[in-house]
């Protein structure tokens, strides 16, 4: 489970290396799209967990994810509207979505404690990857101050999610 890198994480790593290799920064409309997509992915995973998880802590964690990520994404939508920016689909967003769907299907096949562990392990890894991408790529590349600030708030809250996921993972062992 831990050896197999989650597909979505691989996509975020690609984001890092591809952008670095080309020296090309993602634009604000692309950043907005990537950040929003990353949120949608975690919300979908959490909704599946609310249905499937057996463990109470896992369910509570999933509910926290839905609440916080929906709040961040709503804020992101309000901001792009205000800035009159149209989020732009891009290869990173596409790769993220495609691979997240695969992960969701993979998790759908698991049951009980196996599912709980796999979901939480993926949440730890996913938040780690998203936070890494935010810190090293998305925040430094964002040119609009309000977008940058929203990403920074996002990073802060997602760092808390990662810690929370790690605590839940430790309890499941």
């Amino acid at each position: 489970m831990f050896v197999r890198l989650s597909a979505a994480i691989a996509a975020l790593s690609i984001l890092g290396s591809a952008a670095l290799a080309q020296g090309a920064k993602p634009t604000d409309p692309q950043i907005a799209h990537i950040a929003y997509t990353a949120g949608v992915i975690d919300i979908a995973a959490a909704k599946q967990a609310i249905e499937k998880a057996g463990n109470k802590d896992v369910k509570t964690f999933a509910q926290d994810m839905v609440r916080d990520h929906e709040a961040v994404n709503k804020q992101a939508l309000d901001l792009v509207k205000k800035l009159k920016v149209t989020p732009e689909d891009n290869d990173t967003s596409k790769a993220l979505s495609k691979q997240a769907t695969e992960k969701l299907n993979e998790l759908a096949k698991l049951k009980g404690a196996d599912y709980d562990k796999a979901y939480v392990a993926n949440e730890v890894a996913y938040h780690k990857a998203v936070n890494g991408a935010l810190e090293t790529q998305l925040i430094p590349s964002a040119s609009n101050a309000e977008l940058k600030s929203l990403l920074q708030t996002g990073l802060k809250i997602f760092q808390g999610h990662r810690q929370h996921a790690e605590q839940v993972a430790a309890k499941l062992k």
């Binding site: 926290d64 709040a71 708030t153 760092q159 929370h164």
Partner: protein, 106 residues
Amino acid sequence: MRPGRYLPVMAALLFVAIEVPAHAATIQITMQDLVFAPAEASAKVGDTVEWINKDVFVHTATARNGDFDVNIAPKKTVTSVLKKAGTVEYYCRFHPNMKAVLTIAP
């Protein structure tokens, strides 16, 4: 109307007017960018706390000793009256990195 007669009453009213706020103050604690501010606050039993949530996230102010547990919706203000004295560490249940201390004098 003879003013002299009402003087004691007025004095008493004045006294009350001055005394009430001194006994029951309102303190404000803000939640912004996942931080409680001020991180350390002082109050007295009977005081009102205005919990002001400036974030887009739901927060709670949850006392570790169980004395209070307040839910504050995004962009909302909730008031609560302090009932017990003590130095109370509190946090947000949803974002446990948010921590602060409220010292409540008897």
